[in-house]
């Protein structure tokens, strides 16, 4: 399991964090996502054998946000 932090500069409310956390259900290989509107970031724990950084960034983009590796 790998743990990575991404900056999400375009979150505008706590609901955005909730939307990003919903990737837990949509993306295979995700163990846990903690998104924070206060910090404008998300910490994702994932299985690097199933998922990579690009896929995560693409999934976040699909939700309407920009993920930048911290």
């Amino acid at each position: 399991m790998l743990r990575k932090t991404f900056k999400i500069p375009d979150m505008t409310c706590t609901n955005c964090a909730m939307k990003i956390e919903s990737l837990e259900d949509d993306l295979d290989g995700v163990q846990e996502i903690n998104a924070s509107y206060h910090k404008l970031e998300m910490v994702i724990e994932y299985d690097e054998a199933t998922l990579n950084e690009e896929q995560i960034i693409a999934a976040v983009r699909k939700k309407g946000y920009t993920a930048i590796p911290a």
């Binding site: 964090a17 909730m18 404008l40 309407g64």
Partner: protein, 394 residues
């Protein structure tokens, strides 16, 4: 992708609607004489409080609640809309627009119904709790100031003024958001019902203010009725905007959020100012401007000040004269005269003297004001910090 099927409704129409509703509320407050007609019942203060709660909901409450709870409603609608969209696209692309419109109304209605029930119960609970607590005007003033700061902070957050203001938005604990998310996945009628109920955990600033008022009633029934009236008031705006937002998408949402931010900012300052008034602070806008422009303050038609008696007319529109000039260094009696007064002006407070009394709608109440030094000022206000005045000792 879905932009092509958007109806051509100008966001300005929505904003105009909001402004119109705010104007109605302002008119209701500015012309309280109209309230005479609705104050026939013996417990008229109660009724007008309910009406104020309803109109607060109808105007500002609906908008600010939507800003905070809109996401939750969107979650409950998202799946529904997504499902309708997929189903209709598969069946017949031409019919998809009508289908989305038809189906999004029901979840919104269920969501709002559930919210109404939840807040009524919350009001009952707060009223019941309030019966065990007594709020002094000072406590209420501090509460109002805290709410005001919270609202201003939230508005500045919406404007993205500084990262620090993000902390004015309370992040619900992870287990709650996860639970909401799992629930929002359902497409049955229970989902919007449940999510509507969950809104009690994310009340907006105006709702929080109303919750404080419900707490202050000290009555289970009154607390419930007050929150019911307020939440009912929020429902039409909530419904209209939520319905149109699902149709118009993010374009309107962004525009709408700015509008809400402006409103919340104004309301925040008003609440803050009311709190300062209720504290008897000379720094409130009303008290400051009265001192800066003394000509605006009404002169002192003091009656019998030589005999140590003075009259203050407590009317639906405030206190007249707003400035009382009295001789320093001697006690005097302040006669508070009401004549069919039903507005909150009846709830008379002199913060510096820790005096608080609900005046009769018609009659005279005497208050002894102790001697003060020359040049000092004592402020008085209604319990909501709306109507104010001052006693100047010279």
């Amino acid at each position: 992708m879905s932009k092509e099927k958007q109806p051509s409704i100008d966001p300005v129409v929505i904003v105009t609607l909001g402004i119109l509703l705010v104007a109605i509320a302002v008119a209701m407050i500015a012309f309280p004489s109209d309230s005479n007609s609705i104050n026939i019942a013996a417990d008229s203060g109660l009724i007008s409080q309910i009406i104020v709660a309803f109109f607060t909901g109808l105007t500002t409450g609906g908008l600010s609640c939507l800003a905070v709870q809109g996401g939750l409603l969107a979650s409950s609608l998202a799946r529904q809309i997504e499902q309708d969209y997929v189903e209709q696209t598969a069946q017949n692309k031409k019919k998809q627009k009508a289908s989305i419109r038809t189906n999004s109304a029901l979840p919104i209605a269920l969501f709002l119904l559930s919210k109404l029930v939840a807040y009524t119960l919350l009001g009952a609970l707060l009223g019941w709790l309030g019966s065990y607590l007594t709020f002094s005007p000072m406590t209420r003033a501090l509460l109002m100031i805290a709410i005001g700061i919270f609202m201003v902070g939230n508005a500045l957050r919406m404007f993205n003024v500084h990262p620090i203001f993000r902390y004015f938005s309370i992040e619900p604990p992870k287990f709650i958001t996860r639970y909401i998310r799992k629930t929002a996945k359902g497409t049955d009628t229970a989902t919007p019902l449940f999510l509507g109920f969950l809104t009690v955990f994310i009340p907006c600033g105006v709702t929080q203010a109303m919750m404080a008022t419900a707490l202050g009633t000290g009555s289970m029934a009154m607390g419930a009725v007050l929150m019911f009236a307020f939440t009912l008031g929020t429902s039409p705006v909530f419904f209209i905007v939520a319905y149109l937002t699902t149709e118009l998408g993010a374009k309107l949402e962004k525009f709408f959020m700015r509008f809400v931010a402006v409103l919340v900012l104004i309301l925040g300052f008003v609440t803050l100012d009311s709190g300062l008034n209720l504290m008897g602070s000379p720094l409130s806008l009303q008290n400051l401007t009265r001192n800066w422009f003394p000509s605006q303050a009404e002169a002192n038609p003091v009656a019998d000040s030589a005999q140590g008696e003075i009259i203050l007319n407590v009317q639906n529109g405030g206190y007249f004269p707003a400035t009382l000039k009295v001789p320093a260094g001697q006690d005097f009696t302040l006669n508070l005269v009401t004549d069919q007064t039903y507005s909150c002006a009846r709830d008379f407070v002199i913060p510096a003297l820790n005096f608080y009394k609900l005046l009769p709608d018609t009659g005279t109440v005497q208050v002894t004001i102790p001697a003060q030094k020359a040049g000092s000022t004592i402020f008085f206000t209604c319990s909501m910090g709306m109507y104010t005045g001052q006693i100047v000792f010279e």
